[in-house]
Symmetry: none
């Protein structure tokens, strides 16, 4: 979102912001990520294109802001074990991803290549947030003496997020069993990380 010069001039209308978000989601639902047009969003929102581009540098950023930006992710309360914590985190990931349409996730992931700004925003919002949660859980495990030495967060991230992502976007698994898969992913990651940490493999 480009900076807003404060003070002089007419202030931006919040109604416009809301209308854009609502219209973006509506058009996405109707035509999908690939079929979404800025003109269509503007028309559906009853808004000029300039109002959109005053807020978002590109179409992708608009979509990002309307669908993914605000996806909250709460850190799990302290569990009994690393395994329990990781299962909770995986379930959190699943819940978070599930709130955005699959094609939007895939589309944004693709558009990240070739748009560094979007990549930056994606990393800052998504990756950083998820990895912060993970760090906390891993630290707890160290405190609990489950883990002797710190573990690379990115590895843990891939082990946890990957299965959920693949289930939802690649394998096209049954949405009703996403929870089952998240639990399995959490347990799998815990055993792998603990095994690594113990160094017995």
């Amino acid at each position: 979102v480009p900076e807003v010069s404060k003070g002089a001039g007419r202030p931006r209308e919040e109604k416009v912001d809301e209308a854009i978000v609502r219209a973006t989601r509506a058009v996405l639902a109707e035509r999908g990520y690939a079929g979404l047009t800025v003109d269509a969003v503007a028309a559906a929102a009853g808004v000029g294109k300039a109002a959109i581009y005053r807020r978002h540098a590109t179409k992708q950023e608009m979509i990002f802001a309307a669908t993914v930006h605000d996806l909250a992710l709460e850190a799990p309360s302290d569990g009994a074990s690393l395994a329990a914590d990781l299962v909770a985190v995986a379930e959190g990931f699943a819940e978070q991803l599930g709130r955005a349409p699959a094609d939007v996730l895939a589309g944004l992931l693709a558009d990240i290549y070739g748009d560094p700004a979007l990549a930056e925003r994606f990393a800052a919002t998504f990756l950083v947030r998820q990895q912060a949660v993970l760090e906390e859980v891993l630290d707890r495990a160290v405190g609990r003496n489950e883990l002797a030495q710190p573990v690379d967060v990115r590895v843990a991230h891939a082990l946890l997020l990957g299965p959920v992502f693949a289930w939802m976007l690649i394998v096209d698994g049954d949405p009703d069993r996403t929870g089952v898969l998240a639990r399995l992913a959490g347990e799998a990651a815990a055993s792998a990380l603990l095994g690594t940490g113990r160094g017995d493999r």
Copy 2:
């Protein structure tokens, strides 16, 4: 690839097929998935656009055919255990994915939504091939009595492919450590599936 009416008329020239594939890869390497143009491919291949569209219904199918379609995947030789087999499979996935540029994988995954034909082709070539390998490995485990009851292949698929995919395309992990991650994913999946199979959780 649209059906070829056999027998009558001038046959398609293999040289053209090759030129298109080579040019597609070259343009992808130079401009990336988003920057690829059919005209650019045609020009680079010294070929008319019609020759391309005679072979591929859309730009995406052309890219698919040039980058992903032929990605071989060999089934691992019989290992000592399910864990060993799954590690080998995960390494196979990593090697297979590594042969295509990341932006191409992401781009195709995105374009699958909204192009059912491409989705079909993707499933038939990619998913089916990988899941066949997985089935074999899982069957072996049943034979070995490691697994008491059969396991849903899609679950295993997500547990194995997900981490590799996430490492390469989302977390942007160090390519040199992709092998490490694949090994971890294999072990993690094995322990999760064995745990499930034993039903002790």
Copy 3:
């Protein structure tokens, strides 16, 4: 020219209109009617293709508008006789046609068949304008009692326009003698129409 929704939005720029007209004429002069390309016109005008198609439904209409649409035709001042008037009209036709390149005239005439909209525009601008001039001259002759009864304008039109057109586009006559031919055509038409009017044949 498609209708312009008035009032709202950014108004069309006259500079663009002019640039398109100028570029169309330049490309026509350089490559001829058959060699003209909309892309070439757009490039020469420094204009997007959309700006052209916003104004003209087809390439032909664009050419029409740039070369033929505005060809003025002044009614001759009252002459001494029908013959004198018709000579003046024929010379007017010759002057009018002479201002557009021959291949353009032939090309547009051909494209009229199969494009009803263009035919309509052609009739409204060209035929109607010329026939209005003719009507006036014929009315004067009736007033002068040269003609006892009104004459079919289309007949007069063919008798006058035909020779000039044929001289310029079919017979490929010497351009320097177009004036001579126009005079002859005027006299010929006058004598034929007067002969008809008198009914002595």
Copy 4:
């Protein structure tokens, strides 16, 4: 029509020639000059495109050969006067032109610009033939002492052919009155030429 190397190999089949002519006319009748496609003609004739291009250098030449090439034009028998002869000639022109569709005439006339070979063929078949007839009629008039000095054939040609052409292709006059117009054109041309010849203007 490209030269035929005689003797060796399989001779051309006349059936193919006929089929091409028939198909050309059929497609012209159905889709018009602008809508005619070589592929369509080949398909309608049950013939390969090569068979067409072996006989005709371009699409236009094919159409020319199928519609206009053979349009006969008989010289009028000796009439009582130049006027009578010219009327006969004009009627001959009208009859000749009437045997080809209007859009074809206009289309070929347009394509002549930019295709010198077609222009050559057109001149040789059409203009030369018509002007030969005209020359003969004008010579007779000199013999009859109606004309003191020879008249430029091209001028006479324009005066006669022009009105007929304009009536049929530009003014879109009633086909049933084409004869009337031809008679008028003949009389008009005669009076103009006689006037010129006498030098009294």
